[in-house]
């Protein structure tokens, strides 16, 4: 079919263009696995240690980030791998696949580069086909490497292959979801936002299903996050669930292709409408301009975090139920049911803070695109000073980060209060997230400093955010030493209500955030503007 002419050339071009990006993803994911397996093997060397760990995986937090819990009764290296690593790997591969597909389809169209290519001998379906082809290759490479690693540690070959294939197919599924999202909106940011929203919803679907019933119920089976583990590698291997990936991928790709055939290059399915003839009374200064520009992402992030928080808050009732029926759990957590629920919810507050931190950093870094595109130049050539410009962006970013944090705390609290019929949880969890506010703000402040003083160092910011998330999520499992844990921005302040508030740490942390912000303003005042 001539619609795909040039797919081969474009595929090679994508591999050439992204050779470093894709290599880093592959090495990071395969490397994390290769590093984790011996740690798991070493850490839980006796049967008692392994079964103790298995009991922990049967807790609510364990189910959220572990899975349906196949193989917990004989918790050897294989089941350990499947329960402890799958969600982290799947989420990472989903993020990678979404970013890759959007980057090579909608973002290319938005920038106008696709027009340049399409004017050559290139079929209309080629860009999407080559984006999906490359992401399939990379996912299979990662899944294959992980499978080989497991075989290398003397695990059953068929189960290892099924596990690696499940991960790869999961990643490809999210690439296909992104391909559909890329057809709907004319903007790469909206398209990737939609795809990430799908990641969140599908993840929650599996969590709710797995919580409700041991081994998961129908809700879990609706989510691609579940199928890889439902194949039960290293427990009772069955290949059928993996076929679901194949069906869904084919359906999504066909849908994306049909949608893309119905629209013009560069256009979304939702057409642009004419807008107001002049600016309203509100749009009169830089702060309102920043607010206007970020309105969409503030709403989307707040809703996403709120949704996440409410659903996790309601899981508190499952925690309560488990605690009452599971004597092992009482042994692990000790005394009261409130402590167990508090422990679970306070751990979830970290996720709210992580989300808000990523949002804050993105909100500030948006200014970089503003500057590179020449819009900052247009504004600074009017009677707007540099401090006012960056300052207004920082105020908007800080306030909207606070907004997201409060939405998260409120969501958790309302969810928990509703199911536990105890209104005190609202106040407790609001307090808990606000007690970690500086950790949510520090990445925005750091982004500002990078922007103001050294725009080339943006990578370091993401490195620290990535490390902080890894340490907080996986650090306990990987037995990070205390100093390594303390390098995480999310481990500096205590988690309420389980731990006690420390005013001095809070004030120092907040002071550091303010100092970073102030330094960024000085830096921005004294540097040349980047020119288009």
């Amino acid at each position: 079919m001539s619609g795909f002419t040039g797919t081969g050339t474009l595929t090679r071009f994508i591999l050439r263009r992204d050779r470093i990006r894709l290599s880093v993803w592959t090495l990071a994911l395969a490397g994390t696995t290769a590093a984790t397996v011996p740690v798991l093997d070493d850490m839980f060397s006796t049967v008692e240690e392994r079964q103790g760990r298995a009991a922990l995986m049967d807790t609510p937090t364990g189910i959220v980030f572990g899975g349906p819990g196949y193989g917990l009764d004989d918790y050897t290296l294989g089941p350990m791998m499947v329960n402890e690593m799958t969600m982290t790997l799947l989420i990472a591969m989903a993020v990678m696949s979404i970013l890759h597909v959007i980057r090579h389809t909608r973002a290319e169209e938005e920038s106008g580069r696709a027009e340049l290519l399409r004017a050559n001998v290139l079929g209309g379906g080629a860009p999407m086909a080559s984006a999906l082809l490359t992401i399939t290759l990379v996912n299979l490479l990662i899944g294959g490497t992980i499978a080989l690693t497991l075989i290398g540690f003397d695990l059953a070959a068929a189960d290892s292959l099924a596990y690696g294939l499940g991960l790869a197919l999961g990643g490809i599924t999210f690439g296909a979801i992104a391909a559909v999202c890329a057809q709907v909106s004319g903007h790469a940011r909206t398209a990737s936002g939609l795809a990430f929203l799908a990641v969140g919803l599908l993840f929650m679907l599996r969590v709710v299903g797995d919580m409700a019933e041991s081994g998961g119920n129908l809700l879990s089976w609706l989510s691609p996050f579940a199928w890889g583990q439902q194949a039960q590698p290293f427990h009772d291997l069955r290949w059928v669930p993996l076929a679901l990936y194949g069906l869904v991928i084919v359906a999504l790709v066909v849908a994306a292709h049909l949608l893309s055939g119905r629209r013009d290059l560069g256009a979304g399915l939702v057409a642009a409408r004419p807008g107001p003839e002049g600016a309203g009374r509100l749009l009169r200064g830089v702060t309102t301009l920043q607010l206007h520009q970020q309105r969409g992402s503030i709403i989307v992030w707040t809703l996403a975090v709120l949704l996440f928080a409410v659903s996790f808050g309601t899981l508190a009732v499952e925690v309560e139920g488990m605690f009452e029926t599971n004597p092992d759990l009482q042994a692990v957590f000790g005394t009261g049911v409130d402590d167990v629920i508090g422990g679970f919810l306070s751990f979830v507050t970290s996720y709210v803070i992580m989300g808000a931190a990523a949002f804050g950093a993105l909100s500030v870094l948006r200014l970089r695109a503003e500057e590179n595109s020449g819009r900052t130049e247009l504004v600074l050539a009017t009677a707007v000073g540099r401090v006012a410009w960056l300052g207004s962006a920082l105020v908007v970013a800080a306030l909207s980060t606070l907004f997201v944090v409060v939405a998260g705390g409120l969501g958790l609290g309302l969810g928990a209060a509703a199911v536990l019929k105890d209104g005190a949880w609202v106040g407790r969890l609001l307090e808990a997230v606000l007690a970690q506010l500086p950790a949510a703000l520090v990445f925005g402040a750091l982004a500002a400093l990078v922007l103001g003083a050294a725009p080339r160092l943006t990578g370091l910011l993401w490195l620290w955010l990535g490390y902080s998330i890894l340490a907080t999520v996986m650090g306990g499992l990987l037995e990070f030493p205390e100093w390594a844990m303390n390098l995480s921005a999310f481990e500096i302040l205590p988690r309420l209500p389980v731990e006690d508030f420390e005013p001095l740490h809070y004030v120092l942390y907040a002071g550091a955030v303010l100092l970073l912000g102030a330094l960024s303003l000085v830096g921005f005042r004294n540097r040349d503007l980047a020119t288009a």
Binding site: G275, E277, G278, A279, H292, S373, G374, E377, L380
Partner: protein
């Protein structure tokens, strides 16, 4: 005459090791329309960004409206309006919203003028900026600048995306602005535009101002072309001082002549008995080509290209 609106002297600007501006001088007097000519990459936009305080000069002195553009950017910017060469707008704002916003950020916009210019540039202000072509984005910035009450307009290749009809509208608008006594710095590589509009011209090459003055001044620096048909033998004219590239064809002769020798040479021509005489002053294109036409020409005598038709 009062202090110049723009007064840049000996400005150097480096980007890493690359020298973008090399002892650049640029002066624009009040009420003048100053042309700033040079091809892509010669440093026009860099100069303008230094004037706007977006970039800091590495050395030299820059005065704009009597102030320091780096330190007093905000107060100075109230008195000027800027149209960048490549206008990028907020994709979810309409053209009308962007015009109002830019006007308000500067400190006010004349609603009547805004309406007038929107009509003249045939710009639909209800369209979202993401649907505008390059020319339409440029019109948005132009309307915002022209509808302001700024004393100084800084326009960086403002017509590069406009069609010929709109270019004519633009020319008309700049003439009106000049009549109102405002000052305009117009960077361009379209020579006819500069020739039509500008009182003074600065030609920039590799970050250095190689020529500047009024168009008349510049013309004096170079040669006029003369085509004549005479009664007598035109051959002796070829050997007169200041005459270059003579070509004779029977009683016809054409040559170019240095400006300072034009008078004596023309008297010699008339003494031979003139049948017809055409003398053209050099066009701006010739001035320009003198500096750019032959990159290998020696700095003092690089006259090739300019004379040949």
């Amino acid at each position: 005459m009062t202090a110049p609106v723009i007064d840049a002297r000996g400005v150097d600007k480096y980007f890493g090791r690359f020298q973008a501006l090399d002892k650049l001088d640029l002066t624009v007097g009040t009420g003048q329309v100053a042309g700033f000519l040079g091809p892509n990459g010669s440093g026009k936009s860099t100069t303008i960004r230094v004037l706007l305080g977006l970039l800091r000069a590495d050395s030299g002195s820059v005065r704009l409206l009597g102030g320091d553009p780096w330190k007093e950017a905000v107060t100075l910017h109230r008195r000027l309006a800027y149209v960048p060469g490549d206008v990028s707008l907020w994709s979810n704002l309409t053209g009308g919203q962007a015009i109002d916003l830019l006007g308000r950020l500067r400190g006010g916009l004349d609603a009547r003028r805004r309406k007038d210019f929107l009509e003249r540039f045939e710009l639909d202000p209800t369209k979202k900026a993401r649907t505008y072509s390059k020319g339409n984005r440029q019109k948005v910035a132009l309307v915002a600048a022209l509808a302001s009450d700024a004393e100084l307009l800084i326009l960086d290749e403002p017509t590069s995306g406009l069609d010929p009809l709109m270019e004519a509208v633009f020319t008309e608008c700049v003439r009106e602005v000049k009549e109102e006594g405002r000052t305009v710095l117009l960077s361009s590589h379209i020579l006819s535009e500069v020739e039509k509009l500008c009182d003074t011209v600065t030609i920039i090459r590799q970050g250095r101002a190689v020529e500047s003055g009024t168009l008349d001044d510049l013309r004096h620096l170079t040669r006029s072309t003369v085509h004549a048909e005479v009664e007598g033998d035109p051959a002796p004219l070829s050997s007169l001082p200041g005459v270059h590239d003579p070509e004779t064809d029977g009683r016809r002769i054409s040559f170019s002549v240095d400006h300072e020798h034009l008078g004596p040479v023309l008297s010699e021509v008339t003494s031979l008995g003139v049948r017809s005489l055409v003398s053209n002053p050099p066009s701006l294109e010739e001035l320009f080509m003198r500096h750019y036409g032959d990159e290998t020409a020696a700095p003092d005598g690089g006259t090739e290209g300019g004379e040949r038709r």
